[in-house]
């Protein structure tokens, strides 16, 4: 089911991918080559975990997709739209189709939960409507429904800076969903959260993607979480794809290819294969054992 083997291998094209990058390259003004001809295809509805060491280009990759970072060369296709060929106004329209979720939540701290969630509709409403916070009734209904889904409906009028980390990330997720996106770009959603909250957030994300048939690219540092929640894992190192496969295939050799030499025996490999299928309930402390190598 998965295309895109490591570079150099034969490339099989999917019939109708949600997202496709072709030879995507980013060289920063400082001369650092962050992405080196990355070709990746994400089918509709797939939850993909992007792993790799710090500085491997994970953040750059997802930011090149919605052009928060301008790629140096290569192409990005969202469905049939070539994002790299769009004018500024067209890009704004295309960004509405891509929800983004951030590491430090990136909520507007002084705005209320509801204003933060409704900011997901900014691409759809006119300036004065958004200035006076007069959003269409359908948007409001959708916002309430989404807040209910993420369990924050009683916090509508709380300011974002009054919430806990897990609650803030739920607001971030609700904001992204309000865009009615086809693709989610998720940048280290759990990096600022404790292990239990991290798992809850990952589970919520994966469930929501399932409910809405959303594809997601999730940058994540935590290999164990990636294995448990993603359908596919892509490993990035030095701006290149060095691993692409199902979570079960992430063995010690693969981890060494991604992160370099280390004793990986507790983290992955056989343990991942021996794990019961996703969705089965396992006491948290079993996973925690794997976390603290």
């Amino acid at each position: 089911m998965i295309a895109g083997p490591p570079r150099g291998g034969p490339v099989r094209f999917l019939a109708d991918p949600m997202l496709r990058t072709i030879e995507l390259t980013k060289r920063y003004a400082t001369g650092d080559l962050a992405l080196d001809r990355v070709s990746l295809e994400v089918p509709r509805g797939q939850v993909l975990a992007l792993i790799g060491p710090s500085g491997a280009g994970k953040s750059t990759l997802i930011r090149c997709v919605n052009r928060l970072v301008e790629p140096t060369s290569g192409r990005v296709l969202l469905g049939d739209t070539d994002l790299t060929a769009l004018t500024r106004a067209e890009l704004r329209m295309a960004r509405r189709r891509i929800g983004m979720i951030f590491q430090e939540y990136a909520l507007i701290e002084r705005l209320t939960v509801m204003e933060n969630v409704l900011s997901g509709r900014l691409g759809y409403v006119g300036f004065w409507a958004s200035w006076f916070r007069r959003f269409p009734a359908a948007d409001l209904a959708r916002a309430f429904e989404t807040l209910e889904r993420v369990g924050l409906v009683e916090f509508v009028d709380k300011r974002a800076d009054a919430l806990s980390g897990g609650q803030r990330q739920r607001v971030g997720i609700a904001r992204a969903l309000l865009q009615n996106p086809e693709l989610l770009l998720v940048d280290e959603p759990t990096a600022s959260l404790d292990p239990k909250t991290s798992r809850q957030i990952m589970r919520l994300l994966v469930e929501l993607c399932g409910e809405r048939g959303l594809a997601a690219v999730i940058n994540i540092h935590d290999v164990v979480l990636a294995q448990e929640f993603a359908q596919r894992v892509v490993g990035l190192r030095g701006g290149r794809i060095v691993f692409d496969g199902p979570p079960g295939a992430l063995n010690a050799a693969a981890l060494t290819a991604i992160y370099g030499d280390e004793d990986w025996s507790r983290t992955a490999a056989e343990e991942a294969a021996a794990r019961p299928p996703r969705g089965a309930v396992l006491p948290d402390r079993d996973r925690m054992g794997a976390l603290g190598q």
Partner: protein, 263 residues
């Protein structure tokens, strides 16, 4: 235990250079003081006049020119409020243009030049220019204070905009918001408390400026004060100064309260 010695490293490492700098600074100070020509007899004369002014404070005359004082004060307050509103209204767009993280390079440079121009002249000099341009009266004062407000407010607001959290700006940009929506949702909530604080503070400064610019002919209570001193009516001048002090104290107190409240 071995006693070890330690001293903080001196600012200038070379001892000879260090003492040369100290010696040179001292010699310059002595020479400069020697070059001041102080006319002591004139100073003694002035001392007596100064004392009459101080004495006048003990019996300020509010009544004699009350009508003129009220007119001057009304003119000053009008000048302050209108110039502050106009200055703030002009400062906000200039501040947006002068923030490096918001504006393209040419706009940034243009807005920074406006700010630099406004900041490079003291209010009195600008007031003299405007009086020459539009004639005596409060309109020159209004223009002066408006112009001075831009340099102050736009610069400090632009700096606050540059200090905003880039993650929040990125998040709003990723939703497909327009530039105006991006500023309204991403930037404005982050800088609003600072903007309100700066406006209130500037209103306070502007009132004091309005009293000063009157002395060079730009209307307001400053003009009334100037007239009183010219006529040697020190008791009237004292009354005006006391009123100015009272208003400044009240506005200072009110603005510090308001600024604390918006934080």
């Amino acid at each position: 235990m071995i006693a070890r010695e330690w001293r903080p490293p001196p600012l200038v490492a070379d001892a000879r250079l260090r003492y040369a700098i100290y010696g040179g600074a001292l010699a310059y100070l002595l020479l400069a003081l020697g070059s001041l020509e102080i006319n002591w007899s004139r100073a003694v004369e002035g001392l007596e006049r100064g004392w009459r002014l101080v004495a006048a404070f003990l019996r300020p005359d509010f009544g004699a020119r009350w009508g003129e004082i009220v007119d001057g004060m009304r003119e000053s307050l009008t000048m302050t409020v209108t110039a502050s509103v106009a200055g703030i209204a002009l400062s906000v767009p200039i501040a947006l243009g002068a923030a490096r993280n918001l504006a393209p390079r040419p706009v940034y440079l243009a807005c920074r030049s406006i700010i630099a121009l406004s900041r490079s002249f003291q209010e009195i000099i600008i007031a003299i220019l405007f009086v020459a341009m539009v004639g005596f009266g409060p309109f020159a004062g209004f223009l002066t204070i408006t112009f001075a407000t831009i340099g102050f407010l736009a610069k400090l607001l632009a700096e606050d905009i540059e200090d905003t959290d880039p993650a929040q700006l990125e998040a709003i940009r990723a939703t497909g918001a327009t530039w105006a929506q991006w500023v309204n949702y991403g930037v404005q909530p982050q800088v609003m408390p600072r903007l309100i604080g700066l406006c209130v503070y500037r209103l306070d400064i502007n009132f004091r400026e309005s009293a000063v610019v009157g002395i060079v002919g730009a209307g307001g209570i400053g003009a009334t004060l100037n007239t009183a001193i010219d006529r040697y009516e020190f008791d009237v001048a004292a009354a005006i100064l006391l009123i100015i002090i009272a208003i400044v104290m009240v506005s200072e107190y009110a603005s510090s309260h308001l600024r604390k409240w918006v934080q």
